[in-house]
């Protein structure tokens, strides 16, 4: 390995592991106009360096959903866009709309100061359509923000007749789990835990009516999504699964999967109790 490639690898590792390095996707949705282009919406999505951005544009006849991912390498950055497009192509014999779906990927390499222009409806449009087809300007920024690892979104829709949205897509590295044992109308005291994904299982003891119950819990990612749309747009990015088993028993009691949205999910235990697990984003460190 030469000195140049070695320094590049060091830069990449530093960029990926740098303390508090945040990535910001800054976008503007622009529509061509007779005099000067009109800004329909603007916003920003920020988060850790592995944050993705989900962009959705809908019109009466087309729907474009895209997931943008960034791979930083020194001063350059590779932007990958996973597109899922639906186009209205006509009507069935019974008068129902017919849509065609298309999934494809676009990849472009740019420097951090560059502006990428995304044409969600393509560039080879008929003149009448091209006059109305918006494009998206994307600027990527990175900066240091000590310790702030949560994702942030900011979006301003200036033309409310348009259906546009952006979302931050962040895959959690850890999650805050609150466990309760429930039997009838009795609930044990909440047992909050910060669990890291794919780490070794932990033993937890819950006490209900003076009777302790020992469980072994671990946090895993769910199986890959079944639908192509969910996989392409990473719709299951914030889903985690809690694997629950008894000590010294290989066969798990069950697995509870859910989004980090503070909703309690239940798992019946052989003892007759019910384990309630609430998943949430971890607090700032």
């Amino acid at each position: 390995m030469g000195p140049l490639s070695f320094s590049s690898v060091l830069l990449m590792i530093a960029a990926l592991q740098g303390p508090g390095t945040r990535l910001t996707y800054r976008i503007r949705v622009i529509e061509p106009a007779a005099v000067t282009p009109r800004i329909l919406a603007s916003g920003a999505v920020s988060g850790p360096l592995d944050s993705d951005m989900r962009l959705t544009l809908r019109t009466d006849t087309a729907e474009v959903e895209a997931l943008f991912q960034v791979t930083a390498f020194g001063d350059t950055v590779t932007v990958a866009g996973e597109f899922l497009t639906r186009r209205l192509v006509g009507q069935s014999r019974r008068g129902l709309p017919l849509w065609e779906e298309d999934t494809y990927r676009r990849l472009v390499r740019m420097t951090w100061s560059d502006t990428a222009r995304i044409y969600p409806f393509g560039t080879s449009l008929a003149p009448a359509v091209a006059r109305r087809a918006p494009w998206v300007e994307l600027i990527l920024e990175r900066h240091f923000a000590g310790g702030e690892a949560r994702a942030g979104e900011q979006f301003e829709l200036r033309d409310s007749t348009r259906d546009l949205s952006i979302e931050a897509v962040v895959r959690p590295r850890r999650a805050r789990i609150i466990l309760n044992l429930v039997r009838g109308d009795t609930v044990s005291g909440p047992r909050p835990m910060d669990l890291v994904l794919e780490e070794p299982a932990r033993v937890v003891q819950l006490v209900l009516k003076g009777r302790p119950t020992t469980l072994v819990v671990s946090l895993t990612r769910p199986d890959p999504a079944r639908s192509a749309r969910a996989r392409a747009l990473a719709l299951d990015a914030d889903i985690v699964c809690l694997r629950v088993s008894q000590p010294a028993v290989l066969q798990p009691l069950g697995t509870i999967c859910g989004r980090l949205n503070n909703i309690a999910r239940q798992l019946p235990l052989p003892t007759g109790d019910t384990l309630a697990a609430t998943f949430a984003w971890p607090g700032p460190r």
Binding site: V64, A66, V79, G81, F83, T85, R87, V89, G90, Q91, L98, E100, D102, Y104, R106, L107, V108, R109, M110, D114, T115, A116, R117, I118, Y119, P120, F121, G122, T123, S124, L125, A126, L138
Partner: protein, 116 residues
């Protein structure tokens, strides 16, 4: 054929020249031609046209003009050819332009990212 009109006599002349009249009809026509100079002239004119047509067809001594005959086999063959051509053309047109979602190529309608 006492009440036969002039137009009908002309049709009878055509039929007589084609050899399609019965003896009774031919006798009635001959009797009319003897008294009607106009019809006699028309018959002579028809005959001259037929002689010219027979000559141009290379058969100046023909008794009657042969009509172009369409044979059943030829007709069936052309029907089959036309049907096959229609099917192939329809399949090709449907494949090329048919169905909803026509227009430009798929790549034309796909999104692109351009670095400025």
């Amino acid at each position: 054929m006492a009440d036969t009109t002039h137009e009908q006599w002309l049709a009878q002349i055509d039929a007589e020249l084609d050899g399609e009249l019965s003896l009774v009809e031919r006798a009635a026509l001959a009797k009319h031609l003897a008294t009607c100079g106009h019809c006699a002239g028309a018959r002579a004119s028809h005959l001259e046209v037929r002689v010219a047509l027979a000559r141009s067809a290379g058969n100046p001594h023909a008794f009657v003009l042969t009509r172009p005959a369409i044979r059943a086999g030829t007709l069936a063959l052309w029907l089959v050819v036309a049907l096959a051509a229609g099917l192939v053309g329809g399949w090709f047109a449907s494949h090329r332009w048919g169905g909803p979602g026509g227009g430009g190529t798929l790549e034309d309608t796909r999104g692109t990212i351009v670095v400025q």
